[in-house]
Symmetry: C2
Subunit: 159 residues, 2 copies
């Protein structure tokens, strides 16, 4: 095998590996549908856990139940939700058509701020929930709900 | 106001309060559709976070990403998922028709065991993820996946 053949072979192998790598990457990149499903699931789960906290605050306070629910909301809020809203997911169907307004994707600074506020309030709620003071939980729960509402008011399409 | 009128009034008030209480209770009890949506969302979110851990193990290891993903899976697994599978949700549609086999609701002992194993392995994975040793995470991630598979094999209808 001469140098030229060796060089060509090496180039072909490199190209093949590159193509394989691209193919693998393409395979791993989640589809928009999967990302939209995942973000809709995240907020459905936040809603479920929020309703458990509300039920406890409105009825008989269950510290363990509230603790687990608040911990789940905090974990989801801090999980890196921003990565579920990449370019290419402005429109599309997950479990249902996305309800996110196009403005969300245009104002990335405001989107990042609201996401951070949600995460921060969820973390604070989980802290007081583990301490077990129902009055403190009620106060923090109201603050968390304000961050939900702030985002829904501006960036969630009405049903 | 005589005694009879007072008694009737008291009875009416008691009845009204009772009705109100029942109405409030009925309003708070989640619908089967909501419970099924929530459990489907829980496992969609587990799948999303699992895929993030896998991507990190297969590619460039990102400790922060893996930590957040493992923490979210652990919070969901420990959130009290059993309450999303009450009687009355054996069949029905959440985001889609439930894929849970009827046997799940008949063998509550096995269901509780599998749920506990999933929660335990998810907790262990979150612990090693926070310590940042990729090899330990890979080992624990495989153990967690076994608990997913054990449940899917026996209790999840095939697509």
């Amino acid at each position: 095998m001469n140098h030229r053949t060796t060089a060509l072979l090496a180039a072909s192998v490199a190209l093949a590996i590159g193509t394989l790598s691209l193919a693998t990457h393409a395979q791993q990149a989640p589809k928009p549908e999967t990302l939209i499903k995942s973000r809709q699931s995240a907020f459905q789960l936040v809603a479920w856990n929020s309703s458990r906290i509300k039920a406890s605050l409105d009825g008989t306070y269950n510290r363990e139940e509230v603790g687990r629910a608040a911990n789940t909301i905090a974990a989801i809020a801090n999980s890196g939700l921003g990565s579920l809203f990449p370019a290419g997911t402005e429109q599309g169907k997950g479990w249902h058509d996305t309800a996110v307004k196009p403005e969300w994707f245009k104002d990335s600074k405001r989107a990042a701020e609201l996401t951070a506020e949600f995460a921060q309030e969820a973390t604070e709620l989980a802290k007081v929930a583990s301490a077990g003071d129902a009055a403190a939980v009620k106060d923090r729960y109201a603050k968390l709900n304000k961050t939900c509402k702030a985002c829904h008011d501006d960036f969630r399409a009405k049903d």
